[in-house]
């Protein structure tokens, strides 16, 4: 088990290094100039800006400087907010995205498992058809549509009651988080529902279910103890990467609901060619994703002993 964990960790470190390098190369291939702005500046000012961000050095030198700084955990200063460190940006805004993400995952996981199990139990009956239709909707409709619709719904609810039942945007209380996290979790919820359904259907035909029935166990007991527990394994597998994806993929939701999360910086940095923020957020999220995958792998080993043997 220890060897297994160590191996996974080493592979993780190499993956993060690879992500950093690939991003660095790709970023420098993007046409455009991070230091250029609406107002043209004189060559002297430009030279000073280049020196400030080390862009006056050859790209390979820049790369090694970046790597050594990254090992020290320092991503430098943002290009667009010149008095803020990238580390500060991550520290200030990741907790917001993470909170939102955890709540979204909570919605997605409970909803996904519940609806998935439901559709399997009522296979080809009304609940199954309705839920699966909604699942297709959830997978195919982009999140900015859900975000806009969700917000409009809140506006209408509030104007119906004549006072603020749930805030339409902003950040601060649990009430601010409800709608955005629901919207954010919808796609994942749909994915998990589908996964849960197929995995449940597989389990239903297993011999041990027949045995359980033959023993005369109550259907509820069979459902919770035997079916659900076995069927939930694949869901846990995808949950790890999904957690990482959800905490990063909140750009649109953060924009619509005016949430100060890291997703906004992640996307805007690319638009603005903010080199340091691009590298900082990508490496951070990359490391986070890799870490979540490893955690799930290890957890999986605990939940399902068969994994360790193979």
């Amino acid at each position: 088990m220890l060897m297994y964990t160590l191996k996974r960790l080493l592979a993780g470190v190499i993956t993060v290094w690879f992500i950093a390098t690939a991003t660095f190369i790709a970023m420098h291939q993007v046409p455009g100039d991070p230091l250029m702005n609406d107002k043209a500046v004189s060559p002297e000012i430009r030279a000073n800006l280049e020196a400030k961000y080390g862009l006056d050095k050859p790209v390979t030198t820049q790369y090694f400087i970046f790597l050594s700084n990254m090992l020290k955990g320092d991503f430098g200063i943002s290009f667009t907010q010149q008095n803020r460190k990238v580390n500060d940006i991550i520290r200030d805004h990741f907790p917001v995205s993470a909170t939102l993400g955890v709540l979204a995952i909570f919605f997605a996981a409970t909803g996904g498992v519940l609806f998935g199990a439901l559709t399997a139990v009522y296979r080809n009956q009304m609940p199954d058809v309705v839920i699966m239709f909604l699942v297709i909707l959830g997978i195919s409709v982009p999140s900015f549509v859900f975000a806009a619709l969700g917000q409009l719904m809140l506006v209408n609810i509030n104007s119906f009651f004549g006072y603020s039942v749930i805030p339409v945007a902003g950040w601060g209380t649990i009430w601010h988080m409800l709608m955005p996290s629901l919207v954010l979790g919808l796609t994942t919820m749909a994915l998990l529902t589908r996964l849960m359904r197929s995995s449940m259907l597989e389990v239903v035909n297993e011999d041990y279910i027949k045995t359980a029935k033959a023993k005369g166990l109550s259907p509820t007991r069979i459902f919770f103890r035997h079916q659900l527990r076995n069927a939930i394994l694949p869901v846990i597998t995808v949950l790890g990467p999904q957690i990482a994806a959800i905490t990063t993929g909140g750009f649109v939701v953060e924009l619509v609901f005016a949430i100060p999360g890291l997703g906004r910086y992640f996307v805007q940095a690319v638009q603005q060619l903010d080199y340091t923020v691009i590298m900082g957020t990508t490496v951070f999220y990359g490391a986070f994703l890799v870490f979540m995958v490893i955690v799930v792998d290890i957890l999986y080993g605990f939940i399902d002993p068969r994994v360790r043997l193979s």
């Binding site: 046409p31 100039d33 603020s164 209380t173 005016a258 100060p260 910086y265």
Partner: protein, 533 residues
């Protein structure tokens, strides 16, 4: 049963976010709540370049002079000033204080200006100081910063020696980059200066007490402000930061914010809600800039003339943009600019091409002859905003239908578009220009051959000469005559194709009065706003 309902209702109200009867304005406390479109990227006045930073800074800081509600100059930190061709002397009021209670002195201005000019600061707005003696040399690193022609004669007298006579110098000092910075505070903060609410000293009508990055900021009335009796608002709460116009309209509808700008899409929703829609002309001009580099076909005058004769600014404003508030683009000099006694454009009406496909065809035939046959497809570079793309498509259709010219639209994101503009990789580009100060020169030198923002490399010595006259003369008539002639030259050369003067539409809470919309300076300006019952 009834009791249960009451209890349930109470419980329900308790469970909600507690802002029952929400209103973005509060008469008792004189506070308003608003949203801004993005996190202010730079609150160091020596380095700020963008509008949002300018908006926030304009409420927190004060320069030597400021603009009143009608856009006229009024005293700021300077009580009065004297101006000659060589010198400007400012007499600072003794009761102007920083937010920590210390007086604002002439040294604070000298320090701020020197800081902005130091090459190491790399301020993008350093050019705005160039009328001051030695400013350009300092900025180029040829002279030390203390050689700047701005000297504190004593704590309350600031003497500025000019490089050349500058008619509009006083107006410049209202600009952000001219705001004071106190040396000891600046140095004590180092790299963190202006990074957070307590990393900045304030001398304006408001102070920032709270700044949660990308989330909210709070500006409260500055108890040390010399003119505090004139300020009614106790607080401006910027509770939301989002670029999403629809989200902001939703917040407005929900009674969370008192102001929001609308766009083409949200306009209809606001109308259907029966909000009162207000309009404002921002003072910015949008135009097609041609590439005048000799290897480009657009360097051909007859080709540009042909396009000039089929472009109809009315159609652009009414059918393409189709949002109220925009004005016909007739000149690179917008209508609000002042001339000698009246508005410049009334004294020097912009020459207009008479719309005629036949005339355009004649020009086009000549162009074909000069260019040796068929004209290759033209590349029209536009930014990736919906408005810019729509305009590009309109131009594409126009040139194909009226002139039979092929246009390829090259949609690029902000930085890529700038890179292509600078390297000259385009034939035409959708461009715009907004004013920095209230004088015709803020537009006047845009097409000068030495101006780095003249990215199409337009070069006409006659025009350059006129710009020099307007820059160096202090006689209003001479200056405006020169600019009037310059306007004519730009038309004759079809140097650019003016498209429209930008108008915007917005909604404002009916109980908020005194919000000033400005062409130059912080906009919208809530400084003298108040909430009425």
């Amino acid at each position: 049963m009834r009791r249960i309902t009451v209890i349930l209702t109470c419980l329900f109200i308790q469970l909600t976010d507690g802002t029952a009867l929400a209103s973005p304005v509060d008469f008792e406390n004189q506070t308003i709540t608003v949203a801004i479109t993005q996190e202010p990227p730079q609150m160091n006045s020596a380095k700020a370049t963008d509008q949002v930073s300018g908006l926030v800074l304009g409420h927190l800081m004060e320069g030597l002079v400021r603009y009143d509600r009608r856009g006229r100059l009024e005293p700021g930190v300077a009580e009065r000033w004297e101006m000659t061709d060589e010198k400007a002397t400012f007499y600072l009021r003794k009761n102007a204080l920083w937010s920590d209670g210390k007086p604002v002195t002439a040294h604070d201005f000298v320090f701020a200006w020197q800081t902005a000019l130091k090459p190491v600061t790399a301020s993008e707005y350093s050019f705005i100081f160039f009328p001051i003696k030695n400013a350009q040399q300092i900025n180029n690193g040829e002279l030390p910063a203390d050689k700047l022609g701005a000297v504190a004669l004593d704590d309350h007298t600031l003497e500025v020696t000019l490089e050349r006579p500058t008619a509009y110098f006083i107006k410049l000092t209202a600009f952000n980059t001219f705001f004071p910075i106190r040396e000891d505070f600046f140095n004590s903060k180092g790299d963190k200066y202006a990074a957070n609410a307590d990393d900045l000293l304030y001398n304006g009508a408001f102070i920032m007490t709270e700044w949660k990055h990308s989330a909210s900021l709070k500006m409260v009335k500055n108890p040390n402000y010399w003119n505090k009796d004139e300020i009614t608002l106790n607080a401006i709460n910027v509770d939301y930061i989002t670029a999403d116009t629809r989200a902001r309209l939703n917040l407005y509808t929900d009674g969370k914010i008192a102001f929001t700008r609308l766009d083409g899409e949200t306009y209809k929703d606001a109308l259907s809600q029966r909000f009162r829609i207000r309009r404002f002309t921002t003072g910015s001009v949008f135009f097609i800039e041609y590439n005048h580099r000799p290897e480009k076909v657009t360097s051909n005058l007859n080709l540009r003339k042909a396009i000039q004769h089929v472009f109809d600014p009315d159609e652009m404003v009414n059918r393409v943009l189709a949002v109220p508030g925009n004005l016909r683009g007739e000149s690179i000099f917008p209508v609000w600019l002042n001339g000698v006694e009246d508005k410049f454009r009334r004294e020097y009406p912009a020459p207009m091409a008479r719309y005629s496909v036949a005339t355009a065809q004649q020009y086009l035939d000549r162009a074909r002859e000069e260019l040796g046959g068929e004209i290759p497809p033209l590349v029209l570079l536009v930014s990736d905003s919906p408005t810019a793309t729509k305009q590009g498509e309109y131009m594409q259709g126009l040139m194909l239908n009226k002139l039979g010219l092929d246009v390829k639209i090259d949609v690029q994101t902000f930085k890529q578009r700038l890179a292509k503009m600078t390297s000259g990789d385009f034939d035409m580009v959708g461009a715009g220009w907004g004013p920095d100060f209230d004088d015709i020169m803020t537009f006047g030198d845009l097409m000068a051959s030495w101006n780095l923002n003249n990215r199409g490399r337009y070069n006409n010595p006659a025009y350059d000469r006129l710009v020099q006259i307007a820059m160096n003369s202090t006689d209003p008539k001479t200056r405006m005559d020169a600019m009037g002639q310059a306007q004519q030259i730009l038309f004759d050369d079809a140097a650019v194709l003016p498209q429209y003067e930008q108008g915007i539409i917005y909604v404002l809470h009916p109980k908020v009065k005194g919000v000033v919309r400005r062409v130059v300076g912080a906009d919208p300006d809530y400084t003298h706003a108040k909430v009425v019952p």
